[in-house]
Symmetry: D2
Subunit: 289 residues, 4 copies
Amino acid sequence: MEKVGFIGLGIMGKAMALHLLKAGYSLSVLEKNKAAQELVEAGAQAFATNKEIAEQSDVLITMLPDSPEVEEVVLGEEGAMAGLRAGSLFIDMSTVAPATARKLDELLREKGIEALDAPVSGGQVGAEAATLSIMVGGSESAFERARPLLEVMGKNIVHIGPAGAGQTTKACNQMIVGMTIQAVAEAFALARKSGVDLAKMREALLGGFAQSRILDLHGQRIIDQNFKPGFKVKLHRKDMNIALQTGRELSVPLYGSAQVAAQMDALLAQGKGELDHSALALLMQQLSN
Amino acid sequence: MEKVGFIGLGIMGKAMALHLLKAGYSLSVLEKNKAAQELVEAGAQAFATNKEIAEQSDVLITMLPDSPEVEEVVLGEEGAMAGLRAGSLFIDMSTVAPATARKLDELLREKGIEALDAPVSGGQVGAEAATLSIMVGGSESAFERARPLLEVMGKNIVHIGPAGAGQTTKACNQMIVGMTIQAVAEAFALARKSGVDLAKMREALLGGFAQSRILDLHGQRIIDQNFKPGFKVKLHRKDMNIALQTGRELSVPLYGSAQVAAQMDALLAQGKGELDHSALALLMQQLSN
Amino acid sequence: MEKVGFIGLGIMGKAMALHLLKAGYSLSVLEKNKAAQELVEAGAQAFATNKEIAEQSDVLITMLPDSPEVEEVVLGEEGAMAGLRAGSLFIDMSTVAPATARKLDELLREKGIEALDAPVSGGQVGAEAATLSIMVGGSESAFERARPLLEVMGKNIVHIGPAGAGQTTKACNQMIVGMTIQAVAEAFALARKSGVDLAKMREALLGGFAQSRILDLHGQRIIDQNFKPGFKVKLHRKDMNIALQTGRELSVPLYGSAQVAAQMDALLAQGKGELDHSALALLMQQLSN
Amino acid sequence: MEKVGFIGLGIMGKAMALHLLKAGYSLSVLEKNKAAQELVEAGAQAFATNKEIAEQSDVLITMLPDSPEVEEVVLGEEGAMAGLRAGSLFIDMSTVAPATARKLDELLREKGIEALDAPVSGGQVGAEAATLSIMVGGSESAFERARPLLEVMGKNIVHIGPAGAGQTTKACNQMIVGMTIQAVAEAFALARKSGVDLAKMREALLGGFAQSRILDLHGQRIIDQNFKPGFKVKLHRKDMNIALQTGRELSVPLYGSAQVAAQMDALLAQGKGELDHSALALLMQQLSN
């Protein structure tokens, strides 16, 4: 069984690391991390630096907030790249720019290290239930090597294409989710002001072409006015920025995505960044009442 | 069994009328209509004017292109209202403005006639298979009276609320469908230019929060570059206008819906109004290539 | 000197009519109008119906809120068309849809009556100071005949083209004005939150390519937080609808205009429709604070 | 007279540097620059590194394409910061992010060096005619010290506020210019398809509230279909990104600016990035024909 290093023990990362331990993998984590104690008690070993973790690992997994953190962990002083051996495998499960994924792949490949970008969808719930969707970019061989580990953490695991393809797919996922929430938010705002029963409308619409998981789940949230996260506006806004910057680099005009990002900025300005992204509907209610 | 009049024998209307005949209803239609002959052969009776049809009917159903046509058929010279008796039931299954539905309801109610707005979703396929979703506005009693007939034509039949609520729900449906197509179109344009395999991406996204019937069906259309209608851009643009005008009347800012309507205008300007509404993806491809 | 009928004595219409009286024209107005007494004291004659006014007039001028009012005055019962003689001239100075202007031109032409669409820009101030800009559509001969009258009411009088061209130009004017206000509103919101002195910024920007009459006048309004009308949001929203419907008829995608219209809807929803249209900046402040 | 270093001898930088030489300033430039020979012939001295130029200079001016170039020149190896003495003055006349300006100000201040952000508006024509508008951020004392030099290069020179305020103002300028062009582009597209004479419309609109320098100059360009730069789409897109990223950092929703940026992406995708930014009108024509 491959020895695994796991860097990034936030709410999701911790749950994912625990699944790996439970599946029998030997796991290295960072001492200074808050969750390290809990993982050590579950059987992990703790080390002082990212480089040391890398030295212990056949496979190194990162689950971090954004591109700069990933670059710092891998390329920074006492960073993971300095510790990884030729033949080892690096899997970044963070959501970062496709350009970052391709850059890391190139740098690691030069040292004989394989890399995968493997961002996830499904949130805290999916991480805890090991039902994450995982979108993977990188070589076929690296994907096959990673598959047993990924299957411990997720359920719907798809190899999309070469380096960066996983992150591009995640960016597309976030664009679609954001715009679909905005679509539902506008429709519900119109219906509300028309005096239409939202619950009956949701039921009717779920039976036709307007059906979506967002209409189902977030539609119910809007009816309940339940905006506890779930997935926070401020994190979704970060992901929209990845999409928009990728669109800019490739000259793809993202009209609707840009508009949704502006709506999220309006929520953030009102101190609502910690709410669930379904709060786009809250903004639409405010703007129409 | 109630005697039924059916006005509006277009592709969908004809299929719906045939289902009623097959279910044993006696049916009156308009002589001058192209499809009348076919319906007469199937057992319908043909009359010269809308008023005469109305005189023969306990329940009068209309399935017409837009508000002006419905108003003309009901309120015009030799129109249906002149023929309907107190106690009869009028069901407009066309997609028109909620304001039109409420206006007709009010006028008919004054004559002791009950009215329902009962627009449908599901297109030609749904009409032919009798699997239409039907969103109904009007009184509870009128809905119960209409239910047996509606069940002959559709499957997912929901009584949403009072007069106009059916049309409002349909407008919301069209907004959500339009914006979801645009969401998928932007994502696929970005993925295409990134060199990502669209089929694999669609598969991966269907497993997560981006799932929708549009991503499933229209996503496949985009992959196949199959823009044969289905539901035409020009008809969807008409429906978006209903939504936008309703938003204007109620002061509900419909940012995303307005943007999608502009994209549809760009398609119409290029002579692509007869294509399926998934052609929003075609526009996004053009704008990014 | 031609005998003039003037229908529509609102704030602007009254001022315009008084200029005509002062210039020596004999003037007919509608008895039931609130401002009629004032005009009669200034020398006008009052009549009971639009038709009677038309019968008295060589030139009939209308200055009304919207298309339906103009159609009612001209085509309604006891309407102006019934009173106008062949050889007379009809000038509609209201802001209405280009399609309405063309329809009236056609109907009047059949009776040997010439028509001009001659909407104005400049507001109450311009009407009172007789400095209105007037954009004229119709035949060259009708324009030359109208010119002496128009010069009594305005200053910058341009014959744009055939019937409807005046209204199209006015619609374009309102689109540009609306979007320029939104541009200034976004820039000032960003500057404000950056801690930049708005007065100094305005001064600097007026010296370069960002210069506009809107940056000058409305920019100062924003600095002063002075949103007293001026030109009301709700009237500008009506004009944006004319532009958007014209765009729809012609399949011209009006991305930015549609977005500005949505912002105006948000203002209207908050009960701010009576404020000056520079209140788009107020909305941007709210959305960013 | 202060000794000046000038780094960034592009089309605009060269013209600005020549004005300084002509005004009698002693000037240091970079040897490897293409334009260096011409400046040396006009009296400048050439050096091998940015650090050496800085060592020779009381005032160091940069005029570079973007933030990364400015950071590299100042903070990179053999960079300017290593050569600047306490008491010297750094003036960045490039268009960069306000955040970059504040960061450089902070770093330089720690070494006793004063800094100004002083981006310009007016393009090649303004640089050559010494009529640039200059928007300045930084301390009052630094501004007074820089004023004589700035007056050699420009005409409308405004001290807006502290470090970053010049760049924020420039970002606002670019937002307003971009959105005003889009406004004119939409109006002209609608007018063109309506069959309205664009020259007459422009004339009429310049007399009212729609007046702007953009309607005047770019409006004429659209009429002439003259899209030779001027200011290139691709450079304006870069500046829109500065605005949008600043909006994101401050949570200011920039609806219209984001939309214009998307339109520019569509132009870039079609290989039209080298055209004048008035080519937004070309896109609107394409989308409506």
